[in-house]
């Protein structure tokens, strides 16, 4: 018995060995996060500022505009930095909303069972049966457009996956006994779910978030590209690509810069997410 006592607990934070592409993914994520957080400090110009002397300057021509300028003489680098911030803001906001919403509904389904559970599952089926883009477009058509609405709308994306996971794990947690045991101690359901079940399933939920996050980025950039997402004068990555598309023959860089950022970011997050899933939770699809 005493030999167990001497066993040292595993160090909490030891960076595990990761393949080079995961390291790249991590690096890129940290980089774009830093860019998004420091956007106000590092943008060389105000992103809407026009400089009509320098219109359609190609990249790497002048130090004044390292990534060139667009048709109105606006600095592509500044616009790109602000776009990264807006796109990440929407994607983060939406992912958090969707995770909270889905987990809550999943817990409610697991706690009340019966009709509540059937209703949640039916809504989840409904959500999964329709392409989200169509739903999103319909809502935008009916309600018009604004940044909070857009975040809220994107926040409906993927909730059904969190709900299914949270419901399944909460039910099995109850069956395992610790949830029953803590209920028997006199704990309120909120305490059982938030203090005990949630930390136990958090790693699975976080992995799901990293898998859904890139899809949200793609969705937002798709909508903004179509001109139905973020509205000018505000800008986002998809928005910039949509604008740059008009100048594809003369100034392809306007479109290529944000397109590259979109691809690298979704690639990085999904590489890291896949890797995390394989390490933490091989049961996820």
């Amino acid at each position: 018995m005493t030999d167990i006592a001497n066993a040292t607990p595993a160090p909490a934070l030891r960076l595990p060995r990761m393949p080079w592409y995961v390291a790249f993914g991590m690096g890129w994520i940290i980089f774009v996060l830093a860019v998004a957080l420091l956007a106000d400090v590092i943008t060389p110009y105000v992103f809407t500022a026009m400089d009509l002397k320098y219109r359609l300057v190609p990249p790497f021509q002048t130090w004044a505009h390292p990534l060139g300028t667009d048709e109105l003489g606006r600095d592509v680098l500044s616009r790109l930095i602000v776009s990264i911030r807006i796109s990440l803001l929407i994607a983060f906001g939406a992912t958090v909303i969707s995770a909270v919403l889905g987990t809550t509904l999943g817990f409610l389904a697991a706690h009340f069972r019966g009709i509540v559970e059937q209703a949640v599952l039916m809504l989840a089926d409904f959500q999964a049966a329709l392409p989200f883009l169509i739903l999103a477009l319909s809502v935008l058509a009916f309600f018009g457009n604004s940044l909070p609405l857009l975040i809220g709308l994107m926040g409906l994306y993927g909730w059904e996956r969190y709900a299914r996971i949270a419901r399944g794990l909460a039910i099995s947690a109850s069956a395992q006994g610790y949830a029953t045991a803590i209920t028997q101690l006199g704990a309120t359901p909120q305490r059982v779910y938030l203090r005990h079940i949630l930390p136990n399933i958090a790693s699975t939920l976080i992995v799901s978030m990293t898998l859904i996050f890139p899809e949200v980025i793609l969705l937002e950039s798709g909508l903004s590209f179509l001109g139905l997402g973020v509205q000018p004068p505000m800008t986002s990555l998809g928005n910039m690509v949509g604008y740059g598309r008009e100048y594809i023959t003369r100034a392809a860089w306007i479109m290529l810069c944000p397109a590259t950022v979109i691809v690298l970011t979704t690639l990085a997050v999904s590489l890291v997410g896949d890797w995390l899933r394989d390490r933490l939770d091989p049961t996820l699809g």
Binding site: M1, L185, G186, N200
Partner: protein, 325 residues
């Protein structure tokens, strides 16, 4: 002396159903049981799996509500499950589970789990000290408290569960197969610990087990269950010395006991009991070596056959004895 826990004629049925549109079937897991537990007394409940003993334990704690009959604790009716009154009452009544690893949260050091009832019930004081006292009361060190459940042995985990159950000084402890998942060598230690704690604190205890040996060690009174009903209830010494019901006789004769064997070995034949296909009449009759034709049609009531000794068997009822004479 008024009873701490009183179960009055309680019954509980479950609906089983095959498939989405399958036929519904009512299974009576517990079928009209009356039992009492006095303060400081240990009641043993013995039965095979499927006898309804765990359901009985859950109803005793109010984790399930009986369909019929009622449960009173300390003279007051049991509040319904999940209500604030029910939750507050948990301070008075606690449970020890069969699977201690399942009953603990894998992600918290055990000392935090031991003091959790104090936080839940808003009990002031030095929680850490209370936790350390509770640890030492169950024979664990402060160092054990800092570990996670998976870093402890099965017996140590069960000690943690017991420490957690006792930290609010409850008056009733329900133990559902508390040692059957442990190694035999550890079982005796945990049972002795429970005996000591029960004596030191004057706990009322319900001890549910399929293992007569363990029940014999700990219980003052024993009730034997078969397919949802009590077939015999007596003081432990009487029951093990002179079991009356044919089922109890079979169980006692099959259990290893110290000293020379007093009763002849009775071997149970036939199917093990299945609550979904309950036989007519006396549920035990298909396996009973001494069944009468009457047993097939008529269920015997639990009746007093000696002071403090009751059994449910046509052969033991006063009328049968008169007829035999």
């Amino acid at each position: 002396m008024s009873a701490l826990l009183d179960l009055h004629d309680i019954a509980r049925s479950y609906v089983t159903r095959k498939g989405l549109f399958g036929q519904r079937k009512l299974v009576r897991a517990v079928d009209g049981i009356s039992l009492t537990v006095n303060p400081g007394e240990t009641l043993g409940i013995v039965g095979e799996s499927g006898s309804g003993k765990s359901t009985l334990g859950r109803m005793a704690l109010g984790l399930e509500t009986p369909d019929e009959g009622h449960v009173t604790f300390d003279g007051a009716p049991m509040p319904s499950h999940g209500t604030p009154a029910w939750r507050a009452l948990r301070r008075q009544m606690q449970m020890v589970f069969q699977d201690p690893l399942g009953a603990l949260d894998r992600r918290l050091p055990v000392i935090e789990q031991i003091i959790e009832p104090l936080i839940i019930h808003g009990i002031d004081g030095d929680h850490r000290r209370a936790g350390l006292t509770a640890l030492s009361a169950v024979g664990l060190s402060a160092d054990h408290g800092l570990r996670y459940p998976h870093e402890l042995s099965g017996g140590q985990r069960q000690r943690v569960v017991i420490a957690r159950a006792l930290i609010t000084d409850p008056r009733l402890l329900v133990c559902d197969e508390p040692v059957s998942a442990l190694d035999v060598s550890i079982q005796a230690q945990v049972v002795n610990l429970l005996i000591d704690l029960q004596a030191a604190r004057g706990l009322g205890m319900v001890f549910i087990s399929h293992d007569l040996r363990v029940v014999r060690q700990i219980a003052a009174r024993v009730a034997v269950m078969y397919l949802g009903r009590v077939v015999e209830e007596a003081a432990a010494t009487d029951l093990f010395r002179a079991p009356q019901h044919p089922y109890t006789r079979a169980l006692v004769s099959a259990a290893p006991s110290p000293g020379p064997r007093r009763i002849e070995r009775v071997i149970l034949t036939g199917e093990p009991p299945n609550p979904a296909a309950r036989p007519t009449g006396c549920a035990f009759h298909p396996r009973c070596p001494v069944a009468l034709p009457r047993c097939r049609t008529e269920a015997p009531a639990l009746s007093r056959i000696a002071p403090g000794h009751a059994a449910a068997c046509h052969l033991l009822s006063p009328a049968a004895k008169v007829a035999a004479r």
